[in-house]
Symmetry: C2
Subunit: 254 residues, 2 copies
DNA sequence: GCGGCTAATTATGTATACATAAAATCAAAA
DNA sequence: TTTTGATTTTATGTATACATAATTAGCCGC
């Protein structure tokens, strides 16, 4: 009954969008494959109109590509696309960090970020890194990036970062999860935590250029680790692999 | 007859999108105003389905904002939003320039860019700056930015820059036209030309950091000039003012 | 046997009808 | 006169029917 109500509370369009996104990210629909609207109607259970709305939104999201003759196909991504996306995101977040530093943030604005860092520190300080702990880390990491982005107080920057994070491999939770394949996972945790703290220090001291540089380097490190993690894989099925690892972060919690 | 054929060659969705965008940018629809679908059906002459598709696309474009209770409203932009958008674009283009420089470009890839610079130089060298000459300059400038973006050879970066340029005040032609209000227009031409040449030199010599820095400074200069030009205006009617000045640049000419 | 053309089928683009939810207006009561 | 509630109207969300264009399959000709 709860499920039923939850399903009814969202529009058919959103439901179709979620279902189709799942299908794409899970690999049910292969890159280059044309998405049949009628087939989507069958699998999602909603009518063609909301399905088409969902397809348009997924195209804007970057998961689909419009076919000139009509309709949409699943977009494919090369390893380079993925690495570029991460660097792109780092550049954007660097701008956000600089804006936050240059324009100054109140102690009140900084509080949730500091709390986030404290939680992360607590998590890392315990010796063993369990699976659950890693999951919590991913959530905290995603929240850190979201908080930092909002700290820029720049609607255009926030919007652009959100759109750049739509692809699972470009989102904070996405590429962090992909790194979980690395053996030195806990080491990465500590490096990340250190970076975060420095970013906050830089922002607190209003050192814009420093904050930006650190965020960029942060992204480059992530890209480097991801590249290592992906070295042993074929790059055609990267998307489903990364997507399955990605964790959905609660959205409406500003 | 030509007009009729041209109108028929594009889909109803695109036609509705163009018509609605014109209405928004021309100021017929004021920021915060709810867009009535039925009214849009009347003004555009197309049915509700393509109108709704167009509304979704315009929302993704950043011109509209979804109303929680349903429907869309025209988005408003503060002066700070506009300046941030320009800096954002400069940051993105800086990344593109760096990618182009670091990854190296062939002489063949660089050729159209150099031709563009040559045309610009010719234009600037003539003493008087006529209205038509300025118009040509705007076109050349927009083409330069497009070529430079493509030079990054990074699909994610190109895509992101395109999306960041969707707003008229964030597009190269948009903010350059806004600068036309400045008295020292011809001076700006020369500065821009100089910047462009340096960027190409930096890219040709594979100096990524330099190319990036110049592109960023280029954007900051544009933002500064725009801020001066806007000083005497109310910031509520910025969008229509900028949009009317903006020139549509041919799209499919890669 | 292979290639091109034609026809048929299927899929997309568009329009419209219907249902539900929201908003506005009018009326009644405080 | 103002506020609240109910009713009516309108607008959005959804579904489906129809038309056109594209793709595929089959057939005929070379």
């Amino acid at each position: 009954m709860n499920d039923r109500d939850a399903e009814r509370s969202v529009s058919q369009t959103v439901r179709a969008q979620l279902a189709l996104r799942d299908q794409i990210l899970s690999g049910s629909l292969r890159p280059g494959e044309r998405i049949s609207e009628l087939q989507a109607v069958e699998t999602t259970g909603v009518s063609r109109t909301p399905v088409r709305m969902a397809l348009v939104r997924l195209e804007e999201e970057g998961l689909l590509e419009a076919i000139p003759s009509g309709g949409f196909m699943v977009k494919g991504f090369s390893e380079r696309d993925i690495l570029d996306s991460i660097e792109l995101r780092g550049t954007l977040e660097g701008l956000a960090a600089r804006f936050a530093a240059e324009r100054g943030v109140s102690a009140r604005d900084l509080a949730p970020l500091k709390e986030n860092l404290a939680e992360l520190e607590t998590l890392v300080n315990q010796d063993q890194v369990s699976v659950e702990a890693f999951s919590v880390y991913v959530t905290l990491n995603a929240r850190f990036h979201a908080l930092l982005t909002e700290l820029s107080r720049s609607a255009p920057v926030i919007r652009q970062i959100d759109r750049a994070s739509a692809l699972p491999f470009a989102s904070p939770s996405g590429f962090v999860m992909a790194q979980s394949a690395l053996p030195e996972a806990h080491q990465i945790l500590m490096i990340a935590q250190e970076h975060h703290r420095i970013v906050v220090d830089a922002i607190e001291n209003r050192e814009g250029a420093r904050a930006e540089a650190i965020m960029r380097e942060h992204a480059r490190l992530a890209a480097r680790n991801l590249r290592l993690a992906l070295r042993n894989r074929t790059h055609l099925d990267l998307l489903p692999a990364l997507a399955q690892a990605a964790v959905r972060v609660p959205q409406g919690e500003s």
